[in-house]
Point group: C2
Chain length 607, copies 2
């Protein structure tokens, strides 16, 4: 049964040694709040909360699921008590403004906290997680009055929030949204319509739920340019923080899902519920997309969360379970058989999990620094800087979300595979991780949607490949710096090759796309995966560079094994995972007609 232990040594390796968070925080206007002691307190406090409060509820929450009755939802046993501790400890306000009761710390600390929480119990973490989308929206687009009304309780966590986008007929294609907003004489709106897949849409953890809802005004243009954003509270909120009448937004049912079963996924029926316009009319989708990057990085975390948790479950089993003998000779000669960790193929499964968890964590912690800078620009009212960082993050986001969730799913499945048939049995807890991980490639934009965002929008449309040229130039600069380090030689060589190939592929697709528009879609997922493997390679090389420097300088004497292990996992990544780029490279360059020419009615002749 996997039990969560926060990988604090690994987290500190990234924060202190690889990504130099100390210097980074000094560049932020709120960075002085994030001193070393505060960071330590947060890391250790979060670890304690995750290990002891929410991790123990992960399996029981899955087994019990949520209960729906008469528009109400009850979360699994223990969730309410755990959530109360979460609120009392002030975890929700970590990175939200002091003026609303938060601690005003950089966003990255919130993300790192969320990673630990999500690994310990993803379903639980979704309840406070959805509030963040709601808070971000109100912070940027709300009036002062709206901020005063909603932010303090949301920051405290005694209220929670949601994002109500999807409807039965549309998810990705939000231009099809039908929910209506009828203006009232008092300046409010009556919101009507049905929203589905609303995470944390109804539950018993908080006294109020603040829904951010996409709906159409009566005179709105068709499509994406006619969607506005509304605040629709479950209970009408007064400015003094008290609550009034029940607003007619009702939970008609909750979904029965493959996994994340302790997270309530609500169907919400808005029956002329009172709503308040937030932001400009008809610009709701634009506003929503402002936080797309941070929301998607929040989902990308799920990739590393499930890789990490599945690894933590599989590793002790691999050390204990005895089966057969290693090919190179007995490793546990006194035992009836060798522990399966001595079989090379079992190691391959474990090392893949480890490489994904630690490589992906590095990618996310780096993106978190950009998110910090973006948020900082926002707080300082520096729109140009905000846009610049948002653009930069916009290149990482689809790669992190698309690639890491795919690899997280693979890693979760690896954990089951280490257990053999036992991996399929509920009581071991490994299959739950695979079920929970499965949602990550679907929500917040499927992998296909991320891939089209990356190749179609970010690489081709917005930058004509420049974003890749610039990114690979950064990698090549890194290569130049480390070319003479004996530990780094193979990484430098492989990175140089992969950068050249990345640019060549980009150019080739860009040229082909002039005549073959569909190649942007047919190549997109292969391109996304190629980019992800290339990017993760860079982050493994960075980790290896730091580790080899420590070893050479003799700094890390008492931790030689730790640093050596980092280099070995980097080696593993370059030997066993990076080569997958070659299959993707070969596949993506084919013209799209091999995929598009089969008529829809010829996909089957039997049905």
């Amino acid at each position: 049964m996997p039990t969560y232990k926060a990988p604090l040594r690994d987290i500190r390796f990234l924060m202190n040694e690889v990504l130099d968070y100390t210097t980074h925080y000094q560049t932020l206007s709120n960075g002085d709040l994030a001193d070393a002691d505060t960071i330590d307190m947060i890391l250790e406090g979060a670890a304690d909360f995750c290990e002891n409060v929410i991790a123990p509820l992960n399996q029981s929450g899955d087994a019990e699921g949520c209960h729906w009755q008469d528009n109400n939802v009850t979360t699994p046993k223990g969730f309410k008590e755990a959530y109360d501790i979460f609120v009392q400890s002030g975890w929700q306000g970590l990175s939200y403004p002091v003026e609303f009761g938060g601690q005003g710390l950089p966003m990255s600390l919130n993300l790192i906290k969320s990673e630990m929480m999500g690994t310990a119990n993803w379903s639980f973490t979704m309840y406070p997680g959805l509030s963040m989308g709601c808070m971000n929206t109100i912070l940027q687009f709300g009036t002062d009055e709206q901020k005063q009304t909603y932010m303090p309780k949301l920051v405290e966590g005694s209220w929670s929030g949601t994002m109500c986008l999807t409807e039965p007929q549309c998810g990705t294609d939000l231009g099809q949204v039908k929910s209506k907003a009828e203006p009232q004489a008092d300046g409010t709106y009556k919101i009507s319509g049905t929203k589905i897949f609303i995470s944390a849409g109804e539950h018993d953890l908080t006294e109020n739920i603040i829904h951010i809802v996409l709906a159409r005004l009566p005179d709105a243009p068709a499509g994406t340019r006619g969607i506005s954003l509304f605040i629709v509270p479950k209970f009408i909120a007064h400015e003094d923080g008290t609550i009034g009448d029940r607003n007619p937004v009702f939970c008609g049912s909750i979904e029965h899902k493959m996994g994340i079963r302790a997270s309530a996924t609500a169907v919400l029926n808005f029956e002329e519920a009172t709503g308040y316009l937030i932001g400009e009319p008809n610009k709701g989708l634009h506003a929503m997309f402002t936080f797309m990057n941070t929301a998607r990085i929040g989902t990308a975390v799920q990739g590393i969360a499930h890789a990490e948790l599945s690894f933590q479950g599989a590793l002790p089993y691999a050390k204990e379970r005895m089966s057969m003998r290693a090919l190179s000779g007995k490793k546990d000669p006194d035992k009836v058989a060798d522990a399966i960790i001595h079989h090379a193929d079992v190691r391959r499964l474990l090392l893949t999990q480890k490489a994904v968890a630690e490589g992906g964590r590095a990618m996310i912690y780096h993106a978190a620094q950009l998110a910090d800078k973006m948020t900082d620009a926002l707080l300082n009212g520096d729109n140009a800087a905000f846009e610049a960082y948002d653009d930069k993050l916009g290149f990482y986001t689809p790669i992190l979300k698309g690639f890491l969730t795919e690899l997280g799913l693979e890693s979760a499945n690896n954990g089951m595979q280490v257990f053999g048939g036992h991996g399929y049995i509920k009581e071991w807890g490994m299959e739950q991780i695979a079920r929970d991980a499965r949602i990550a490639t679907l929500y917040e934009g499927t992998t296909g949607v991320q891939a089209l965002d990356l190749l179609g929008r970010k690489v081709l449309l917005s930058s004509k490949g420049k974003v890749v040229r610039e990114y690979t130039a950064e990698i090549l600069k890194f290569c130049g710096r480390h070319a003479r380090n004996k530990y780094m030689r193979r990484f430098v060589w492989d990175l140089t090759k992969i950068c050249a190939q990345w640019n060549t592929l980009t150019l080739r697709i860009m040229l082909t796309a002039r005549k073959d528009r569909d190649i942007v879609s047919s190549a997109s997922v292969d391109y996304l995966m190629f980019s992800g493997y290339a990017m993760m390679a860079y982050f493994w090389a960075q980790q290896a560079a730091v580790a080899s420097e420590k070893l050479e300088k003799g700094d890390g004497k008492e931790e030689v094994d730790f640093y050596k292990a980092k280099i070995k996992v980097a080696d593993f990544y370059f030997e066993r995972l990076l080569p997958r780029t070659q299959g993707h490279a070969e596949a993506m360059v084919n013209p799209s007609r091999g995929i598009t020419s089969l008529k829809a009615e010829h996909f089957s002749f039997d049905y």
Copy 2:
């Protein structure tokens, strides 16, 4: 909600056009029974039974699961009635000897029937499926008396059977089996021990259950050479087909599993149960391995079953669901958006499913012909021929089982992906397919075990690479025959390259393994996957060759679209899936130390 429709046109394409089953049956001593009319009757009868009787129980069976109480197991609602129809229609005895009440038809027809049944409802199919292992064992190793006692009822289906191998401490490593067999004065044995993961180990479908049990005699040598095989019936069986006393083998519980929830997986406690030795003492494992190939091919079927069912679920949804516009311009201009089947990446998901289902089916139907010949040799007492076919099948088996179940799982996940968020919701039925498919890479030997069997045993140890040289020579001969066909040029070229690479890789690993024994394990899964993709390419090329011949000769005028579609899917396979070989090729040649050198205690420094 996926509803099953037997893909009879595709099945007939393989049987009649690609693999020439008519000629094949003429080579078998029981082949005259399999005339065209009989085959048609079987295909259509099986399709009817699958579509109308068991497919409707697939989702309800999953939702309900099996019930255990006081050693008894109740299967989900409708299973008993469906099983009664199965028995009354004589489906169980299709390929079993006429002398025991069967129809004596070639084994391949049984496999094709099982494929349809397994696609319609894998959980249901496991109950009669396990009986086959039991019947095969009794047929080959049982005394005449044992055959008379058990075979008629098993062939009829009114009794079922199991294979009791796994124990809590061992699955793959059966040398660790502890169950005991104490000889009694009357020539019987008292069997004691606990067996786990016994599919169909207890249920309410039949009046008796015949367990084939691995256990140790008191004087047995340690390890694999000290295991014997016993028949242990749930109720003592008399030779006249009546049943007597309840034998003390009790179902202590059933497992709660991720999927195949309607299939009862029993923990069986043998409490001095009466058993009868079958075959020679201490040679039980050898006997068990006699049927390993056919059992594993039966599991390989699961790969194509779940690819097919998931495709059947996803295809209509992709035609109906409207979202966004295709990159190359509106496809459904009158609709609010284009059907998602017009998005190239959705097509990539669907075509992958289709390529796996139809390519894998060809591989299995080819292996089924070898199984026919093997069985024929057995029935004719031609041991040399039996061994020869078994050897040949032994090369295919790990590839089919390992590769097809991995791709079946991917394909099942593709079906969820086509549905977006809806794929995660139980009522759509797509996530069940992914959960059901997940067991296939675990049981009957994990993918890692198949890979070691292929590379370690079949390719290196038994044949020093000869088996690959011979197989690729066959492919190259095919290439020679089709080199001048314009439709075939690209297939011939790619196959030629892949054959050369397959041999080179084999040789390179063989040479490396002289000093680096562990490379046989570290390279094994990449080698297995490479082999699978190469083999499936050959079977797609064969299908394309037949289709192009039909088109050139103008034979299939009324079916031009059918044949063109086959060639297009072959194209897709060569363009999008075969390239994955390159990642596997690059990964496998690395020395094993990149995987083996990290010490077990250095996999984590935090836990």
